[in-house]
């Protein structure tokens, strides 16, 4: 076996030292009736070469977004990842290390975590960041649970239909066993209406959960929502797109209490949805309630600056059922990737990437609605993602036709929004070229009977 050391001689010597007659003898504490007396029914072992060929064959059956233009969004995006992110994060000393519980031999990870927290606070304008959660969806749930723990007498959580439908589904799942109620306010023109929200928010409301830019890519009036929530004594949780902060006002400036995000856009491959990076930031007042790990600065012998995991009394290994959350593992490696990404991008790189997203997505929207077949159902401003309606209502045919031409053209909205069954969600990142956008638009315009012709498009 490729990862085992013990030779038959080693094994014999070790058994003698133990005083056991055989390896089987070491399992004596497992009652005989429970021993598996057959081989597991699994495929036979594959050496590296055979496994590589097998995985390559499986991989070849998939259409990789890296090989064809991808216009899919909805919480996962085909952004560019600089080479240094992969090179640095794959160093074994980062990659194969554990949670830094021994600070003396983990200063690399601890400093990287502290820098991650610092970078995220700089980016968001918020006071406190943890060292990451599972993903954007779990970050929303943990934010709401944190608000509910602080606002303990209230049991109602108000959100909007413009928040990622899967994030809302996760909230529903968690709320099924907790005494919390989720109220969802419909969005109009792609954004939540303040009047509808105002009617739903009352003195029983724990928090208002919004997304900005929202699931449709549209920009919400977060400042207005914050003002409205304040009057009812409710907190505001904002889910944001980290890349959008290269250009738009950050959650700190908008005045929200907790800001969370899917950090995938910061240097993490799409990988069919995971592993991703849950970003969580909040105001100082939540400092001792925030879930997850946190690195803190301190000193060691001689006053030397160094880092440790801190405020561990919030965590399960100390507080057990009184912990602020059950979250134990974090996404250390993806927090590291995000830090390296932000360090490479800097202020100007973030600004340029965000500008490219907004310019290219607007170009794509205009390019498509030139065709009488398509229209944009919403007039609200958007960032890198937008909704487009096929007036012929053939969304499935459009997508299948584009796919057969090697274009991942958009995400059908009908699955979550029956009222938008004739609509597509389209994301355009900085990676999409004008030629790709033109080809995409020509293809969608010309789809008939399940296939499009792009011969004259480029």
């Amino acid at each position: 076996m490729p990862y085992l050391f013990n030779t038959p001689e080693d094994q014999q010597a070790m058994l003698e030292a133990i005083g056991a007659s055989s390896v089987e003898d070491l399992f004596a504490s497992i009652p005989e009736e429970f021993r598996l007396r057959r081989a597991l029914n699994l495929p036979p072992a594959m050496p590296e070469l055979a496994l590589t060929q097998h995985l390559s064959a499986l991989a070849d059956k998939n259409i990789a977004a890296g090989r064809v233009p991808c216009f899919l969004g909805g919480g996962s995006y085909d952004h560019f990842i600089p080479a240094a992110v992969d090179m640095l994060a794959s160093r074994g000393e980062f990659y194969t290390s554990y949670t830094p519980y021994q600070p003396e031999v983990s200063q690399g990870n601890l400093q990287a975590m502290f820098e991650y927290q610092s970078l995220i606070c700089q980016l968001t304008g918020m006071d406190v960041s943890n060292a990451s959660l599972y993903d954007g969806g779990s970050a929303v749930v943990e934010a709401v649970l944190m608000c509910a723990a602080v606002n303990a007498r209230r049991r109602k959580v108000v959100t909007a239909s413009s928040v990622h439908p899967e994030y809302r589904q996760i909230l529903e799942t968690y709320f099924a066993t907790l005494e919390l109620e989720l109220v969802t306010v419909p969005a109009e023109n792609g954004v939540v209406s303040l009047e509808a929200l105002s009617a739903a928010v009352d003195d029983q409301t724990v928090c208002v959960v919004v997304q900005h830019p929202n699931f449709f890519g549209s920009l919400e009036d977060v400042a207005g929502i914050v003002e409205l929530a304040r009057q009812a004594g409710a907190f505001v949780v904002q889910s944001f797109d980290p890349l959008s902060l290269g250009l738009i006002k950050n959650p700190g400036e908008l005045g929200v209490d907790v800001a969370v995000a899917e950090g995938q856009v910061l240097g993490t491959p799409m990988a069919y949805g995971g592993p991703y990076l849950g970003i969580m930031t909040c105001r100082d007042k939540f400092l001792r309630q925030i879930p997850g790990r946190i690195a803190g600065q301190t000193t060691a012998g001689g006053g030397r600056r160094c880092w440790v995991l801190t405020l561990q009394t919030r965590e399960q290994h100390i507080r057990r059922e009184k912990a602020t959350s059950n979250i134990c593992t974090n996404q250390g490696l993806y927090a590291l990737r995000a830090s390296i990404y932000l360090a490479l991008m800097g202020p100007q790189g973030m600004r340029e990437a965000a500008e490219l997203c907004i310019r290219k997505s607007h170009y794509a929207a205009e390019r498509l609605v030139r065709s009488s077949r398509f229209e944009q159902p919403f007039t609200s401003p958007f960032f890198k993602e937008f909704v487009v309606r096929d007036t012929q209502g053939e969304v499935a045919e459009l997508l299948a036709g584009a796919e057969s031409e090697g274009i991942l053209a958009g995400v059908p909205l009908g699955k979550w929004y029956p009222e938008y069954e004739d609509c597509l969600l389209v994301a355009v990142t900085e990676k999409r070229t004008r030629a790709e956008i033109d080809r995409w638009a020509s293809c969608l315009e010309s789809v008939e009977s399940g296939a499009c012709s792009t011969a004259d498009a480029v």
Partner: protein, 485 residues
């Protein structure tokens, strides 16, 4: 000589005007940005991030990495964490463009290779666990626990039974009680006997028709197989409650015994432990769960199903608890799980556990002459020693030993866990270590116990820092860089 400059904070290395990434010029028609983005939404300035050239960043992180211990560089006998070798092939294969560059909302037709892999992973985990229904969605072990408890809650809701209590032994991981609370249950602790086994009298006293789930880690965090598991299963099942197996220690029993066969109704796997996904400085992991067939309808959606020779995602499951994570789950980790299991096959997986247990017992046979091992001469994949005697007689604590081991080039074992053993030192060598390494570790441990107590209190001496002031860090938390500090 260490490069001190490169380990300054990124913010301290920053100089206005430097940059690494540069985006291409827009190739779309020139439009005034304010036409696209109304003023009210627009930030007044780019985000105040550090300004660095690419070599700054590369040197910074490369130097930081050298301040870590890791499995690639050191023996990491961290009990309960299963820090085994992380196969390089798995990284390459999970990173194939046809695996990594996939969008979660691609059509099923464009994902047949991946869906096949995920479907087969479900089948493999079902076979290894002896529990046929699988959800790959949970993002981590604790998330798997929580998801399974939600499944249990849905099951009892559907039966019309009001069961509000979850039980777990005092040696359980802290995530067990925390997950029970988040899933809306009341939590009660079951005592362990001095030999580490569950105190059956305490279990009987606390079991009732209000009990929903008994959570048990088996093999336990003490590295022991719970011999009374048949009786425990009978007691719990007689009350109509479910047994949840915390799968943190599956590395010990692959192909040797199956939780489904010894009475577990639900369990999670920690692929990053059992199937060697790298821990990445604290994540990502994954937390797939396996459950009894009749609990299958409650599993979160989506689940991968096979129809003819096509694979698809099944979302429409009316009794499902719903969704616990966005998209499918931690797919990248699951690809590595598939690769790990495929590399080993049935015989290889069994040999993994045999060697993990052999190594642990060998190490136990050496360590017991140096530090008492309160639970006897045999263990599964890990064991707990105690420095209580050394502490009393010579004022040398578990922490002192752990810290001094760092000087000898070994990562510290887990200390002060499980909570039931005073001055606990929990050691897990895993199967991917050699006899030579285990002998060297034993020799270091022996030398340490002979060293002067006063000196040990100041250890480690050779690391970048020694014994940071954790009290100060918690009392006056500094959790980010500030421009004026």
């Amino acid at each position: 000589m260490r490069n001190q400059q490169a380990t300054q904070l990124l913010f301290e290395l920053s100089k206005p005007g430097r940059r690494a990434a540069q985006m291409p010029a827009p190739d779309t028609p020139d439009v005034d940005l304010s036409d696209l983005l109304p003023e009210q939404f627009r930030a007044s300035a780019p985000p105040p991030l550090p300004e660095l050239a690419e070599p700054d960043v590369v040197r910074h992180y490369t130097n930081l990495s050298t301040l870590n211990m890791s499995v690639d560089t050191h023996f990491y006998p961290l009990g309960s964490c299963t820090m085994k070798y992380n196969p390089k092939r798995n990284e390459r294969l999970a990173g194939l463009p046809g695996m990594a560059d996939l969008h979660p909302y691609q059509s099923e037709g464009s994902l047949q290779g991946l869906l096949q892999l995920l479907f087969e992973t479900q089948q493999m985990l079902a076979e290894i666990s002896g529990l046929p229904a699988v959800s790959l969605q949970p993002a981590a072990g604790a998330h798997g626990e929580l998801t399974a408890l939600m499944v249990a809650a849905a099951h009892f809701r559907n039966l019309g039974e009001d069961r509000r209590v979850v039980l777990a032994p005092d040696s359980a991981h802290g995530t067990n009680p925390a997950s029970a609370k988040i899933a809306g249950f009341d939590f009660k602790t079951i005592k362990s006997r001095p030999d580490g086994a569950v105190d059956l009298d305490d279990l009987k006293a606390k079991l009732s028709d209000k009990t929903a789930v008994f959570m048990i880690t088996n093999p336990s965090t003490l590295g022991l197989f719970e011999k009374q598991i048949a009786q425990i299963a009978d007691l719990v099942h007689e009350q109509g409650a479910l047994i949840y197996l915390d799968g943190a220690n599956m590395n010990a029993i692959l192909g040797i015994t199956r939780p489904g066969d010894f009475g577990a109704d639900m369990m999670h796997f920690n692929p990053h432990k059992t199937f060697s996904g790298p821990h990445g400085g604290g994540g990502p992991g994954a937390g797939p769960i396996c459950v009894r067939e009749d609990l299958s309808p409650y599993l979160p959606t989506p689940v991968v199903v096979k129809e003819g020779d096509r694979y698809r995602l099944e979302e429409n499951r009316p009794l499902s608890i719903g969704r616990v994570r966005s998209f499918f789950g931690n797919t990248g980790v699951l690809v590595k799980t598939y690769c790990y299991i495929s590399t080993h096959g049935p015989d290889g997986l069994r040999r993994v556990s045999e060697n993990a247990v052999l190594n642990a017992n060998y190490l136990l046979s050496r360590v017991k002459h140096i530090l008492p091992t309160p639970h006897g001469d045999r263990c599964m994949h890990e064991f707990v020693a105690s420095a209580a005697k050394l502490k009393k007689e010579r004022n040398v604590s578990a922490m002192d030993i752990a810290k001094r081991l760092l000087d000898y080039g070994f990562h510290a074992p887990t200390v002060y866990f499980p909570l039931t053993v005073p001055e606990a030192i929990m050691i897990e060598p895993t199967e991917t270590e050699s006899k030579e390494t285990l002998d060297a570790f034993t020799a270091a441990l022996f030398r340490i116990t002979e060293e002067s107590a006063t000196e040990l209190h100041d250890a480690p001496f050779s690391t970048a820092v020694s014994r940071p002031d954790e009290v100060q860090a918690a009392r006056k938390p500094i959790m980010k860089w500030k421009s004026d500090s």
